[in-house]
């Protein structure tokens, strides 16, 4: 694989986004339905939502929930995933728990959390974590099962100890799995947060989007979605991609 770094790192995304917007515009004007508003309409709605300050409020709250549950789920999930991936017996025992946790409908966990904890913030965040956690575990577990045994032997022979082995030998090898988890995880958590907010919060993007949905106001839904995607795209460009580059330096 070539490691050619493009001279203008922002040119490519810009071009590709423009193309996407053009496709969107063409589709919108040929179909001409309320369901697919044109980019301009959405942009107007976005500006309106911004200038009323509403968007910032809800976006902020959702991002806050997203951030907390993301970090909890990633940390916990990586720890459990490594443990299960390395200890076949523990895994054989807990595997079915994991299958169950993975496949309980979000609806069920969310309702249970709300009923048990009440309609409070903790319940919402807990519900999101419960929904994301098994995905992280399963992905990291696959990675932990496929570690390079030669390097692990080296670490053992040189008596690295558990901490050094984890940080210097295991985690670097899990990097692609962690990144896959993080990238799909941000998206998944965002989708779960939407449902969590819909079912029992009085603020946040999910709450708002559902209000718009009741009014069938697709334009506003799109505007809110666009604002969120911009944030994620920024995280991708400012955090994840530089991280990729840094951690792949040795290749």
């Amino acid at each position: 694989m070539m490691n050619t770094t493009p001279r203008l790192p922002f040119l490519q995304p810009l071009l590709s986004l423009s193309l996407l917007i053009i496709i969107w515009q063409v589709l919108a004007s040929t179909l001409n339905t309320v369901v697919l508003p044109s980019p301009l309409l959405v942009f107007d709605a976005l500006i309106a939502a911004l200038s009323s300050g509403e968007l910032q409020h809800h976006l902020g709250i959702t991002l806050y929930r997203l951030a907390i549950s993301f970090f909890i789920a990633m940390l916990l999930g990586t720890a459990i995933g490594v443990a299960l991936g390395r200890h076949q017996k523990t895994n054989a025992f807990f595997d079915s728990w994991l299958v169950i946790l993975l496949n309980i409908p979000a609806l069920v966990t969310i309702i249970l959390c709300y009923i048990w904890f009440g309609l409070i913030e903790t319940a919402a965040i807990f519900a999101v974590v419960v929904n994301k956690l098994p995905n992280v575990i399963v992905t990291i577990r696959e990675g932990a099962r496929n570690l390079d045994e030669e390097l692990l032997e080296m670490a053992e022979a040189y008596q690295f100890g558990p901490l050094k082995t984890l940080s210097q030998v295991i985690l670097p090898q899990l990097y692609p799995y962690i990144m896959a988890s993080a990238r799909t995880g941000l998206a998944l958590i965002w989708k779960i947060v939407l449902v969590v907010e819909l079912l029992g919060r009085s603020d946040g993007m999910g709450y708002q989007i559902h209000l718009f949905f009741q009014l069938f106001d697709i334009t506003s839904i799109m505007a809110y979605t666009v604002s969120f995607i911009i944030i994620i795209q920024l995280i991708e460009m400012m955090v994840l991609q530089p991280l990729d580059k840094k951690s792949q330096r040795w290749k």
Binding site: E150, L151, E153, M154, E156, A157, Y158, Q159, F160, K164, Q168, V169, P172, S247, R249, W250, K251
Partner: protein, 245 residues
């Protein structure tokens, strides 16, 4: 370090189709007095398996690897048959990580690397080095770490003769500075005679010791000529191991 007793009754592997293959059977020898021992045996006879057992990496064997003074622990350095460097760490970091000291002595590492011809590669990543260079880094890593026993699995293959020569000199020097037992696997009899106090010849698998020969040339006098002579003598006297040379 006190005497290390190696007594492997049997080491077996299970293959993918569930067969059991015994690789080592009744292999015994002792290591003591900071000896330098070379192990010679055909490819696939179980030399690497043996070193793995001694290093404590493989616990699934019957028999024992024990010290004469029970209860004491020993520290190993292991130079594997392939480099096994951490790809995401530079040469310097790889060596630092392997040390069990609290504070690293970077000057010492740099000196070591210099003598192995790697002065320029201090901050390179392993992937950016040739295989021979990676092997030398692995050498430096094994040498740098303080240990009671140094295990080396064909460490000098893939090196050009001048570099290999330098590495041998360095090895002997370090061994004399910081006395410890050395187990050195090699296929090169000349090299073995040049380095070792004792040569242990191992049969093909299921392997056991077939000959344990003292190299009685003084360390100062191991010239090419004397080595050649020792070899001649050995092959004429010990026809039973001629097929291993």
């Amino acid at each position: 370090m006190n005497t290390l007793n190696i007594d492997i009754k049997s080491k077996a592997f299970t293959t993918a189709d569930k067969h059991t293959v015994t690789v080592i059977e009744d292999l015994q020898f002792k290591l003591s007095n900071n000896e330098f021992v070379c192990i010679i045996g055909p490819s696939g006879c179980g030399k690497t398996s043996l070193l793995n057992i001694i290093a404590g990496l493989d616990k699934r064997f019957s028999g024992s690897v024990s010290l004469s003074e029970a209860g004491t622990q020993f520290k190993t350095s292991y130079i594997f048959q392939n480099p096994r460097l951490l790809p995401w760490r530079t040469v310097l970091e790889n060596i630092q990580l392997a040390s069990n000291e609290q504070a690293n002595n970077d000057t010492k590492i740099i000196q070591l690397l210099q003598r192995l011809g790697l002065a320029d590669s201090l901050n390179s990543y392993p992937h950016h080095l040739s295989l021979g260079m990676q092997r030398r880094v692995a050498l430096a890593r094994g040498f740098y770490r303080e240990s009671d026993i140094l295990l080396m699995d064909e460490p000098l293959v893939s090196l050009d003769p001048p570099t290999a020569r330098k590495a041998r000199t360095l090895l002997i020097e370090l061994w004399q500075q910081q006395a410890r037992n050395v187990l050195f696997v090699t296929h090169d009899l000349d090299e073995a005679i040049e380095l070792a106090d004792r040569l242990i010849f191992i049969s093909s698998s299921p392997s056991h010791v077939v000959a344990d020969i003292k190299v009685d040339i003084a360390r100062g006098e191991r010239s090419a000529k004397n080595i050649e002579q020792f070899k001649q003598q050995l092959s004429s006297q010990r026809t039973d191991i001629a097929h291993l040379m």
